[in-house]
Subunit: 103 residues, 2 copies
DNA sequence: GACGTTGTACGATGATTGCCGTACCTTATC
DNA sequence: GATAAGGTACGGCAATCATCGTACAACGTC
């Protein structure tokens, strides 16, 4: 049956909000995810070593995506994640780097 | 009557935690306070133009202080606030500047 | 001493958060 | 078609959060 692929919505570069980004980065689990994404380009959700269940993981990825920190795209059954380095750098220069350096 | 001046406790530089700092900075009211502190050295709590009541303000200053973002010292009846620029820069180089630039 | 100012302490409340389990969808493989 | 793997959706729960009002403490000033 033909099910329309549901859009994965992301904020545009202009829509990024500093407080939302800072809040997204203020959780240790999410920070760990972001750090892992920073060192290895594109990774599926299952490839992260975090001490939470699948459903909690989905929640954290949603927070990161809606804050504009990561981009997700569907690839078969898995969802591939990338850091939105360029967009973050354009809106908040130096922020991501300083957070990653401190993490 | 001799009441001992209660200590205002601050985390040491080594005790600063990235997630706590990011969380403290992720609230719009607190971000506004920090931005105001960045542009004018030492200010009393009452000098900030934020849309919340006194008691909420006390709460925000407490969050900022306990995260190590600001330092408070008593001066008569008022409490003077300063940004802990040096400590933040030492532990999380570039972080505060990038946040302030983006705010 | 009586006020006024500055700020804290202590609830209370409603919203958000982080976490989980269960059920389910989609794709791939046997 | 049955099963397995990767994820999401939904509902629930306990903890935290941002906000407020009221009461109160410390210090100046009239």
């Amino acid at each position: 049956m033909a099910v329309v692929q549901q859009e994965i919505s992301h904020p545009t570069r202009d829509e990024l909000e500093l407080s939302a980004v800072l809040h997204a980065l203020s959780d240790p689990v999410r920070l760990k995810i972001v750090a892992a994404l920073a060192s290895e380009a594109e990774q599926s959700c299952a490839s992260f070593d975090v001490p939470v269940t699948k459903s909690t993981c989905t929640h954290h990825f949603k927070v990161l995506r809606e804050a504009g920190v990561i981009r997700q795209r569907q690839e078969g059954t898995s969802r591939l994640n990338t850091l939105r380095r360029d967009d973050l750098e354009a809106r908040f220069p130096g922020l991501l780097d300083s957070v990653l350096r401190a993490a």
